[in-house]
């Protein structure tokens, strides 16, 4: 990590406007310990490594990556549910990296989360009214809780008369609406959606995505939208960051990134998505599995599977030296389009031939 100490100036900013969330060089390593009384650290899971990005008011930043790439850890770091190993997080212009639980509490009304599983994220012994009203009860300052809750229920498409029902009386899609209403209760500035539609059937997915978009327009919300589903992320995001093994490897506007991916991993990921157009297409099949985050590869973490590196070296078993030894900095390859690769793809360049070797 040669560039760890250097301050980053370019993080794919939009011209003008101050960032709502500003993350710099964020790193989280989870220790793996052995021993019963004396816990000795034997290894570390490199969950998030040197991640920097901004989220601007009113936009949706999509965060994509496969399981274990550090998407959810990033979200939990931003909400301060876990503490960073190093790096800084600023929210609304204020550095929150070192804030404790008590100091965070007033800020919690500004940032809320919607979770993946609408079954386990709602307490089965509480009524819908209690669940959606909980933020008011905790943060205080609201007299007519019931009226507010019913207003929210109406807005997210639930029947306000179902105030006294329990979660088990609702379907998966309706439960996710309850989760959305709860997140909205305190009029937050930022909502972190962690795989909000992954557990839902396609016809219901579309309902929830449309609801989230409608709410964003009405309340000028900012979303950090985490998903492994590239079609969904593309649909809802203004800008997208792609993660691989804890690193952001590419970040850019949704159109740019999908039309013109620069990082070989992004290109392979996009080609792996079934297109659903009724017709076979050429896929770039990556060999092997994602390496373990306990012992990530040296240099560029993607070099062990990278088809482009093999194209550059001209041999299926070799990769260029700088790929093996040094992690490429996340640099601007085109305006507002950053990529961490020594050999970014040129426009229209195909990866196929390398992958088929």
């Amino acid at each position: 990590m040669s560039s760890l100490a250097e301050p980053r100036t370019t993080t794919g900013e939009r011209p003008g406007g101050d960032a709502l969330v500003s993350v710099r060089n964020l790193t989280k390593r989870f220790p793996i310990t052995r021993g019963i009384i004396f816990q000795r650290e034997v290894a570390r899971v490199h969950a998030v490594e040197d991640v920097s990005f901004d989220i601007f008011p009113g936009e949706t930043l999509g965060l994509v990556g496969e399981s274990g790439s550090g998407k959810t850890t990033t979200a939990r770091l931003i909400t301060k549910l876990i503490d960073a190993t190093s790096g800084s997080i600023a929210f609304d212009g204020r550095d929150i990296t070192a804030l404790g639980r008590r100091q965070m509490r007033p800020l919690r009304r500004e940032m809320q989360m919607i979770f993946q599983d609408p079954y386990s994220s709602l307490n089965p012994r509480q009524t819908i009214g209690q669940i959606i009203g909980a933020p008011y009860a905790i943060q205080g300052g609201e007299r007519n809780i019931r009226g507010r809750v019913q207003g929210l229920m109406d807005r997210v498409g639930l029947n306000p008369e179902h105030f006294n029902r329990y979660p088990h009386e609702f379907s998966g899609g309706q439960r996710q609406r309850i989760g959305v209403a709860r997140a909205l209760a305190l009029s937050p500035k930022l909502i972190i959606c962690d795989e909000p539609v992954s557990a839902l059937d396609v016809s219901i997915q579309a309902q929830i995505l449309n609801l989230l978009e409608g709410l964003q327009n009405d309340f000028n919300l900012t979303y950090l939208f985490i998903s492994h589903d590239l079609s969904v992320v593309r649909h809802i995001s203004d800008r997208i960051a792609v993660m691989y093994l804890g690193h952001i490897v590419e970040i850019g506007t949704a159109e740019e990134l999908y039309a013109n991916p620069k990082h070989p991993y992004t290109a392979a990921l996009l080609s792996a998505v079934p297109k659903g157009t009724g017709g076979a297409h050429e896929r770039v099949i990556l060999a092997g599995d994602v390496p373990s985050p306990i012992d990530p590869p040296s240099g560029c973490v993607f070099h062990t599977r990278c088809p482009k590196a093999r194209m550059v070296s001209g041999s299926p078993d070799e990769v260029p030296e700088n790929c093996r030894t040094e992690f490429p900095p996340l640099g601007e390859v085109e305006q507002r389009h950053l990529c961490a690769c020594w050999y970014p793809l040129k426009a229209g360049e195909e990866l196929q031939q390398a992958a088929h070797r």
Partner: protein, 348 residues
């Protein structure tokens, strides 16, 4: 047979005729599958799509005799190479299942015993059907693991399942299914638990072995994209019934059923930004209380007179593309063109 549908060539391997699977429960009868007919041919990937609870999995479990007859009321025929699997005695069925008719499941984590070595589990699967020495069986297993792309198979047979990644476990499951050169492979959501890049690897593998072993594949999934990519024939299911059945291009480019239209309009397409998603209103019905007439009518924007009373027959109304809808072919063509145009107009 009403199912006069003949697109891919080849003999029908598995022929399901008017299958009904009803589960009596204290709350009422759950009609999980209610009158389903289709056939799968050699060399064909037959995709079954539908949302959760549409009866996809129950259909295949029934075909394999994995639904307990005591807890379910089963009607119809499942003809496999001319024999009806539903009337076959248990010991006969056991000879077919896992040998000529194999299945892989959604969750590769739950399908391998965590305390036995992967190799031993596969060797057991060999020896159940073939009288073979342990050594010979192990050779066969190594050969098969290498065929499905497990690196260093001779060493990896000694590993426990937790030493395999998700994609490798699914490969091992596929190897297990292929040990006896089956004629039909049923894959129930084989890639749902996997990441997209691994999904692409597994789909490629299934496609390859289908060609190499000349088998018929039934691919069950809720992911329309997966089906569109690999299946030759697609059946869309809703509330235990087939809504539409046809060649891939027919179903995806000229779909005939309003439910299929709704499904296609509710998935964002990866290569086109800004299209409005048009979700299907409401949610899938309870299988205890399936709506009368067409099961989709309460959610269908095009419902008219007979829809809530008369169940539309599932039949070919010309074009080798049977479906179950009361609308006339001409209306449907017009409506689909209109809906497509509406969708792209919003996008611009």
């Amino acid at each position: 047979m009403s199912n006069a549908y003949a697109s891919p060539r080849g003999e029908p391997l598995l022929d399901v005729r008017d299958l009904k699977v009803h589960f009596p429960t204290p709350d009422g009868v759950v009609k999980a599958v209610d009158g389903l007919s289709f056939s799968v041919r050699r060399g064909e990937t037959f995709g079954i799509v539908g949302e959760s609870g549409s009866g996809k999995s129950v259909t295949c479990l029934t075909a394999l005799g994995l639904i307990n007859r005591k807890s379910a009321h089963i009607e119809g025929e499942v003809l496999f190479k001319g024999r009806d699997l539903l009337t076959l005695p248990q010991d006969e069925l056991r000879k077919v299942r896992g040998k000529e008719l194999a299945m892989i499941f959604q969750d590769p984590f739950a399908c391998l015993h965590p305390m036995y070595r992967v190799g031993d589990q596969l060797v057991e699967a060999v020896q159940i059907h073939d009288d073979m020495s342990k050594k010979a069986a192990r050779e066969r297993v190594v050969e098969m693991l290498s065929a499905v792309g497990i690196p260093r198979p001779r060493e990896r047979v000694r590993d426990y399942p937790h030493q395999y990644s998700g994609g490798m476990r699914q490969r091992a499951m596929i190897a297990m299914a292929l040990l006896h050169n089956p004629d039909v492979l049923i894959a129930d959501e084989p890639t749902t638990a996997l990441d997209v890049t691994v999904q692409a690897q597994i789909l490629e593998l299934i496609e390859r072995i289908k060609g190499e072993f000349q088998i018929g594949v039934i691919l069950i999934t809720h992911d329309l994209g997966v089906v569109a990519d690999v299946a030759q024939t697609v059946m869309v299911m809703y509330a235990g019934r087939a809504m539409e059945l046809g060649g891939r291009n027919e179903v995806f480019e000229r779909p005939l059923h309003p439910y299929t239209w709704g499904l296609l309009e509710s998935i964002p397409r990866v290569m086109s930004k800004g299209e409005l998603l048009l979700p299907i209103e409401g949610s899938p019905p309870s299988l205890i209380n399936v709506p009368a007439g067409c099961p989709f009518h309460p959610r269908c924007p095009h419902r008219f007179g007979p829809c809530d009373e008369e169940r539309p027959a599932f039949k070919d109304r010309g074009g080798g593309h049977p479906e179950a809808c009361h609308l006339t072919a001409e209306d449907k063509r017009k409506l689909w063109v209109e809906r497509e145009a509406g969708r792209t107009k919003v996008a611009v």
